[in-house]
């Protein structure tokens, strides 16, 4: 009996997965632990390994197709079964290959045909015509959604995104093109980012509050703790770790900032799960350090290091990037002096932590140089009133400027 390879469930909330790439072809011999295919959920990509030795049988789900968790995506033939199936494979495989590109070609050819106007005249707005010229779009291949089927600017831009090009006859006119345009199709992750960011901007009454704080003590404690943490946990303590710790402590003092917006009301969360905005090559992701207030600085550094490693090797599990109650985004490594972040919904606030920069400040009537750091709170005013945000920022400033206070 061939072994069925199914779409694995990688976390409690995963319901479906997209097959990005098959690493083995039908008939390829595989060893246990070989990577069979790469899948992508809304947030992670994951490599699925062969459960045992054998050969890859029939691939039932093609690349770029999405199937529910538990669906059979291929079969794995055990050593005894190979001979039988392999003879059948050459017949089946070319057939499948011949069959699969055909509908794709037909559909891409059919799309412009279906929208091409019946007569010679193309109804398009002046703006749409200019945009089409600029983008090199053949208007006769664009579906119009304006009055009486008139092509609007938006239609041209949609056509551009779907890959309709200029007519062949027009090509010589553009004989000496400059640098070529490149269309990068959306990954699942980019779509998710786009959707979440825009949704946050549209739904939340985002507003901002910023404060510049003295980071002298933050730096001093980091230096003092660095060798200790390195020895005990084997990781390097960073300013971000300290910031997550003090922010967690400040959130404990101001529960309204550690809440979720829900349809029914404002959900107060008993624990602080600190989201940590992180940039991957593919885009933004927010892994989570759970129950941050119960963790030592060393443990936070350990968790952060582990999450970064997972990010770099693309091996997040969905549960690594779920459940944050508040997010911290640090831009110090880019030398950014001040920035605002978009709320990671359904959270109600996010803290943007900027670089520490030496600046002249007035202390007791004297101009002195101090390492200053800007912290910027983006918060949803539907839930958090300005005064509440102000109180939180006041506590945060106190904790950053004197981290010992979080012991109190």
């Amino acid at each position: 009996m061939p072994v069925e390879i199914v779409m694995p469930k990688l976390g409690l909330t995963m319901t479906e997965g997209l097959i990005v790439e098959w690493r083995k072809k039908e008939g390829d011999p595989v060893k246990k632990g070989d990577i069979l295919f790469v899948l992508e959920t809304e947030k992670v990509t994951y490599e699925v390994e062969a459960p045992e030795d054998g050969a890859l049988g029939k691939i039932l789900v093609k690349e770029q197709e999405t199937v529910p968790v538990g669906a059979v995506v291929a079969t794995l033939l055990k050593p005894g079964e190979i001979a039988v199936e392999v003879t059948a494979a050459p017949v089946a495989a070319p057939k499948a290959e011949a069959a699969s590109p055909a509908p794709a070609a037909a559909s891409s050819a059919a799309a412009p045909a279906a929208v091409a106007p019946s007569g010679g005249r193309v109804k398009a707005t002046p703006l749409a015509k200019k945009v089409a010229k600029e983008l090199g779009i053949d208007l006769s291949a664009v579906a119009g959604t304006g009055p009486g089927g008139r092509i609007l600017q938006e239609d041209v831009e949609k056509a551009k995104a779907s890959g309709i090009k200029a007519p062949a006859a027009a090509a010589p006119a553009a004989a000496a093109p400059a640098a070529e345009e490149k269309l990068v199709t959306f990954t699942g992750m980019r779509r998710t980012i786009a959707k979440k960011m825009l949704q946050s901007k549209l739904e939340a009454a985002q507003t901002y509050m910023s404060n510049t704080v003295d980071a002298s003590n933050l730096q001093r404690y980091r230096e003092a703790l660095l060798p200790f943490v390195e020895k005990k946990y084997g990781v390097r303590l960073t300013i971000t770790d300290l910031m997550m710790k003090v922010t967690g402590a400040a959130l404990r003092e101001h529960p309204v900032v550690n809440t979720r917006w829900t349809e029914k009301g404002i959900l107060y969360l008993p624990e602080v799960h600190m989201g940590m905005a992180m940039a991957l090559d593919e885009g933004l992701i927010v892994p989570v350090i759970k129950s941050i207030n119960a963790k030592s600085l060393g443990q936070i550094a350990v968790d952060r290091t582990a999450l970064i490693r997972k990010g770099k090797t693309n091996s997040f599990l969905p549960d690594d990037i779920k459940g944050s109650t508040f997010t911290l985004s640090a831009m110090g490594m880019f030398g950014i002096e001040q920035f605002t972040a978009i709320i990671n919904q359904p959270e109600n606030a996010i803290l943007g932590v900027a670089a520490i920069v030496d600046k002249p400040v007035v202390v007791k009537g004297q101009i002195v140089i101090r390492p200053m750091m800007n912290v910027n709170l983006s918060y949803d005013h539907r839930t958090i009133d300005g005064a509440e945000a102000g109180k939180f920022m006041q506590t945060l400033k106190a904790f950053i400027e004197d981290p010992v206070m979080i012991l109190g």
């Binding site: 002046p126 703006l127 200019k130 945009v131 304006g146 609007l152 600017q153």
Partner: protein, 460 residues
């Protein structure tokens, strides 16, 4: 008959009655419930009566400057009762017309106040009659806004409805609120010979209008003798026998102005207070009914249009929204388009705008602004109305027209060209390239567009 979609429309104003006629034309059976007069605020207490009054003011204006045209005019006398009567005649002719149209289209009109029984049933409170519909359109409109200051309920404080019903011309008036309604009343009163002071809270009159245009209007209004106080917060109104003292603050200074009457023109508020919409769970926020882009509320089958949904409260927009709503009720899938909504002020000079102001457009990206002063327009000189300008704002890359702002004679009629163009995604080139009739003020629109698309002719 039973196969027809039955639509109940609440409100016979410009949000409701055109929707009723559109729905009948599309094959629906419509019942319209109106608590007061057909035509709503627009025909009875808004657009039409105020313009009728302003036309009387225009006649005075013409006589005042008749010398310029070589006509000697031996004085005039304002018969205020006759002015108001003419306004009433215009209004009643139009409202009768609406009634006749609805009758011709076999719309069942019920006089009374409506309230929801369930999401398909409306009860007429006065008679207890219940009206069943497959869908309901709420177009109950708005009422004049109020501000919470001391003395606001005094006997001489009048909202726009009361102003339009007044019997005698006051000697002096303080107009609280320098928006569109406020400046139009001020224009009317000053022409009639009343002393007028406008108090506006924001730094300039007609907030929301392109700043450059608003500044010209403010200057012109001041030149006619209207006292304009801006950046002022009204603190209270003290009533004495025949006069009222309005106290206001500018910064930390407190000042007062005294007048016979006080007009309150601080905008309008959506009005659904009698409908009992909470019974069926129709969502409302900040005093306005919430609808989606198809004009449907959160309750399936219940739609809303016009002033009652807040936002821009203009008659022509209400009509467009109402018609959009009934098309969607009757199976279409049409998104309400707010890209080109004109707004007009019937002062002298008139103001008309569509699209983005220069300030708004700048925030959106690189723009070009084409201006043409009416000093360079032949027809404006003929009319002796050269104070004004046309301003065309376009996006820099493709030249898409993002906004057109006009201050000058016929502005409110001329803006329609820009509205059509913007609806059709015109660029400045089409506006500049279209042959405009000569001599007309509309040539100024073409010239302003030319400034963007290759340079104007009649400007150095």
């Amino acid at each position: 008959m039973a196969d027809k979609t039955r639509i109940t429309i609440i409100g016979g104003g410009v949000g409701g009655y055109p929707a009723a006629i559109r729905a009948v034309r599309m094959g629906a059976e419509v019942t319209l419930i109106e608590k007061d007069a057909l035509g709503g605020t627009c025909l009875n207490w808004g657009c039409i009566p105020t313009k009728a009054l302003l036309q009387s003011a225009n006649v005075i204006q013409t006589m005042k400057e008749s010398d310029t045209f070589g006509i000697k005019c031996k004085g005039y006398e304002v018969d205020f009762g006759a002015v108001m009567n003419r306004k009433n005649t215009v209004v009643s002719q139009l409202t009768r017309g609406v009634g006749a149209l609805l009758k011709a289209k076999k719309v069942k009109v019920i006089q009374g106040t409506a309230s929801f029984v369930d999401p398909k049933t409306i009860q007429v409170n006065e008679t207890g009659e219940k009206v069943q519909g497959d869908a309901i359109l709420i177009a109950s409109g708005s009422k004049p806004g109020r501000i919470p200051v001391e003395g606001i309920d005094g006997p001489d404080v009048m909202d726009s409805n009361q102003v339009l019903a007044m019997k005698a011309l006051p000697k002096s008036v303080v107009v609280i609120g320098g928006g569109v309604i406020g400046v139009e009343f001020a224009q009317f009163l000053i022409a009639m010979g009343t002393e007028v002071t406008i108090i506006e809270m924001l730094p300039g009159l007609v907030p929301g209008v392109d700043k450059e245009i608003a500044a010209i209007l403010q200057k012109q209004l001041s030149a006619t003798g209207v006292k304009v106080v801006t950046g002022a917060a009204v603190k209270g109104i003290a009533h004495k026998k025949t006069e009222n003292t309005v106290t206001y603050t500018i910064g930390d200074k407190t000042e007062t102005v005294t007048a016979e009457k006080v007009f309150l023109t601080v905008g309008r508020k959506p009005d659904f207070s009698l409908l009992n919409i909470d019974k069926v769970g129709v969502k409302h926020e900040r005093g306005a009914i919430v609808v989606n882009e198809f004009m449907e509320t959160n309750v399936p089958g219940i739609y809303a249009a016009g002033d009652v949904i807040g936002g821009i409260m203009l008659a022509h927009l209400a009509s467009a929204e109402g018609e959009c709503a009934v098309r969607n009720i009757l199976g279409h899938r049409e998104v309400m388009n707010y890209k080109a909504v004109p707004s007009c002020i019937y002062t002298t000079p008139e103001v008309a705008c569509v699209g983005l102001t220069e300030e708004q457009a700048k925030e959106r990206g690189e723009i070009q602004v084409g201006r043409f002063p009416l000093r360079g327009n032949g027809k404006a000189l003929v009319l002796n109305e050269t104070e004004g300008m046309v301003k065309v704002i376009s996006d820099r890359k493709f030249g898409e027209v993002l906004g057109v702002h006009i201050i000058g004679p016929h502005a409110t009629d001329m803006i329609a060209e820009a509205v059509l163009g913007m609806t059709m995604e015109m660029t400045a080139e089409e506006l500049a390239g279209a042959i405009h009739p000569h001599p007309t003020v509309s040539e100024a629109i073409m010239e302003a567009a030319m400034t963007i698309a290759g340079g104007a002719i009649h400007m150095p």
